[in-house]
């Protein structure tokens, strides 16, 4: 029976099958490489383009952090009236001290510098943990799907175990034990990767189960190609499109997880490392003392980033034509 999963867009009406999209009609397909076709489709998705531009700007902001707040880093603070004593968002001290305000630790810190420098760590955590967890998911899923039998059984049950434990409480538990609010970015990447792979594993396993029955696989096997070569050279490229989409969306999800850990004071330690997440620690105290901008601005950047990544993910889904395969 065909069950549609919650949240999936299970309807055949919206979805345009392999037929050519606008703009592909006039030009003959032979002249376009596969990548060019993907790019044309992605380009026609306006929100995805907007998302890409936003993401490029965010990455530029992270790279150029020292230029945006010269001389001021998240670690720069003042207890007295050294120039950043203002208690609200202000352009008076541009560029160095814009948005100088009371930090969670009751010292005067520049919110802007925490946003720019924090972007480095938050984006890094989001991207790396998505890549690592997808890598684990691909390897485990490929092995389970290709070999089948008891190997598949064991690996699938392990995946079921991970999928049955609700993700957020699991991440909170592991961070409470290993990070205890004194975590390094690397540790948080490790935790998010450890928890994040089962979705990709399922996806890859399902694709491999059908791919391994096809003639080209059988041909490769008949010629005596090594199984791992078959998996990675012959089958994997055919299973990669949905993985790319899921990995892209996972970047946003992991940024939110990092921020949630920071908010619960179980994430990356500050000082020394500022992230968008740990800027949100003690948000309640900041709100109670009237410093509403303290949680609002880092949170706003998280929201923009996640929105941009979701747009890109949507565009990739259309461009790579994986909607049908994700179901």
């Amino acid at each position: 029976m065909a069950l549609t999963y919650p949240g999936s867009e299970g309807n055949g009406n919206d979805y345009q099958p392999i037929a050519l999209l606008d703009g592909e009609r006039e030009s003959s397909l032979q002249q376009l490489s596969q990548l060019q076709i993907y790019w044309r489709r992605f380009r026609s998705h306006r929100l995805a383009l907007l998302g890409s531009i936003l993401l490029v700007l965010l990455v530029l902001m992270a790279i150029c952090a020292p230029l945006i707040t010269p001389g001021v880093t998240p670690l720069t603070y003042s207890v007295g009236d050294l120039g950043f004593g203002q208690h609200g968002p202000s352009l008076d001290h541009f560029p160095a001290l814009i948005l100088g305000s009371t930090a969670p630790d009751d010292l005067q810190r520049s919110v802007l510098s925490i946003i720019t420098y924090g972007a480095r760590i938050s984006l890094l955590i989001g991207i790396l943990s998505a890549l690592v967890s997808s890598f684990i998911g691909v390897v485990v899923g490929a092995i389970a799907g290709y070999f089948g039998g008891w190997v598949d059984n064991v690996l699938s049950r392990i995946t079921d175990v991970f999928l049955t434990i609700p993700t957020l409480p699991l991440i909170v538990a592991i961070s409470a034990i290993y990070a205890q609010g004194r975590g390094s970015p690397l540790l948080i990447i490790g935790i998010l990767s450890f928890v994040g792979w089962p979705g990709v594993m399922r996806l890859v396993r399902a694709t491999f189960l059908s791919l391994r029955e096809q003639e080209f696989t059988e041909a490769a096997r008949a010629v005596g190609v090594n199984p791992f070569r078959i998996i990675f050279r012959h089958l994997l490229p055919n299973a990669l499109s949905p993985v790319i989409v899921v990995t892209t969306l996972a970047v946003g999800g992991n940024i939110v997880f990092e921020a949630t850990l920071g908010f619960l004071q179980l994430g990356v330690e500050f000082p020394p490392t500022a992230t968008w997440g740990n800027a949100l620690a003690s948000s309640q105290n900041s709100i109670a003392s009237g410093n509403w901008w303290w949680p609002v601005f880092p949170g706003l950047f998280i929201a923009i980033t996640v929105l941009a990544i979701n747009f890109i993910g949507d565009g990739l889904r259309d461009a790579l034509d994986v909607r049908s395969r994700l179901e």
Partner: protein
């Protein structure tokens, strides 16, 4: 059907043990040299002598071998004995029972709200497919879906509670007027004396957190409902109903909606445990005295019996709801036969 149910239950057993092993493993193999070391390091470790620590270890059974510890823990778990909290020394089971009421109140209100908004929204989108209203709904729900819960919650707290003062800033009841905490004997005295005021008070407190929790989840449900409805609307029986001259209303409500609602059952069943877990952040923002807050406090203070109990409870709920949903689906949709 019976055979299928039994097989589902049997399949759940190894997964249950897998979950228990993973959760227990995470807790006991921690880098500080055991869960007690972590707890003491976080709390009163400095004032205890080695002798006291050893006694403590013995009382908690932590001086046994790891396999022994695991077997004892699982045995107790299966008998419903969740141990005692290290922080409060109270039974974890009793603490969770106390905390589950506020959480169910929050999650129940929010989920009702979510369904009441998402389902009509999805149907409307499907019926008016391709219009400006449909696109607007799609964009708005998509943006809401992308916003992180804690940020929406914090902004709502700042705007509606702190700045505008429309809603209380924290808690489930107004402790100052009542003079007692929620669910204490003093509170129940007040509740019996001023029932209507007490209910209104709780409603006032639950409104904002429940709306926030609902807002971020509306997108998924309304999109799902929209696509189900679109699929049903293209079916032959809907065309037949229209052909025999039924009013648009009758076609939509009697023929299309009832069929489109079927898959929603899967959604509802699976959403309940997920919602319980999702309430962690919302409870933290609004200082809601529920299970999520209990769990975060336990994690911050390394109160491991509470942490383990909470995760196991959610995992078991998920397992059970998975099975119930599957079976319920077969009951309401006679076309589905499990074999």
């Amino acid at each position: 059907m019976l055979a299928y149910s039994i097989r589902r239950l049997l399949l759940a057993i190894p997964i249950f043990f897998g979950i228990s092993l993973l959760v227990w493993g995470i807790v006991t193999t921690n880098p500080d040299g055991g869960p007690l070391a972590s707890f003491l390091g976080k709390n009163q470790g400095k004032i205890l002598t080695q002798q006291q620590i050893d006694n403590y270890k013995h009382a908690l059974g932590l001086d046994r071998s790891l396999p022994e510890q695991y077997i004892i823990w699982v045995k107790n778990l299966l008998q419903g004995n969740l141990g005692n909290s290290l922080l409060t020394h109270r039974s974890v089971g009793a603490t969770i029972q106390e905390r589950i009421v506020p959480t169910l109140l929050l999650v129940g209100t929010s989920y009702t709200l979510q369904l009441l908004i998402a389902i009509p929204l999805g149907i409307f989108s499907a019926v008016r497919r391709g219009t400006a209203a449909d696109s607007l709904i799609t964009v708005v729900t998509y943006v809401a879906f992308s916003l992180p819960t804690f940020w929406v919650g914090l902004v709502a707290l700042i705007v509606f509670s702190v700045q505008l003062g429309w809603f209380p800033v924290l808690g489930i009841v107004d402790e100052r007027t009542i003079g007692a905490q929620f669910a204490t004997p003093g509170y129940w005295d007040y509740f019996h004396a001023h029932t209507i005021a007490a209910i209104l008070d709780v409603a006032h407190h639950v409104a904002l957190p429940a709306s926030i929790l609902a807002l971020v989840s509306i997108a998924g449900d309304s999109r799902f409902m929209r696509s189900q409805m679109l699929e049903v609307l293209s079916q032959d029986y809907v065309r037949t109903a229209r052909a025999k001259g039924l009013s648009n209303r009758a076609v939509l409500l009697k023929h299309a909606l009832r069929n489109a609602m079927l898959p929603e059952i899967t959604n509802i069943g699976l959403a309940i445990p997920t919602l319980l877990a999702g309430a962690i952040v919302t409870e933290q923002i609004f200082s809601w005295p529920g299970m999520g807050q209990l769990y975060v406090q336990a994690a911050q203070g390394y109160d491991y019996p509470v942490m383990v109990a909470y995760i196991m409870l959610l995992a078991v709920l998920l397992l059970v709801f998975n099975i119930i949903t599957d079976l319920a689906y077969a009951v309401v949709d006679p076309r589905i036969r499990y074999s």
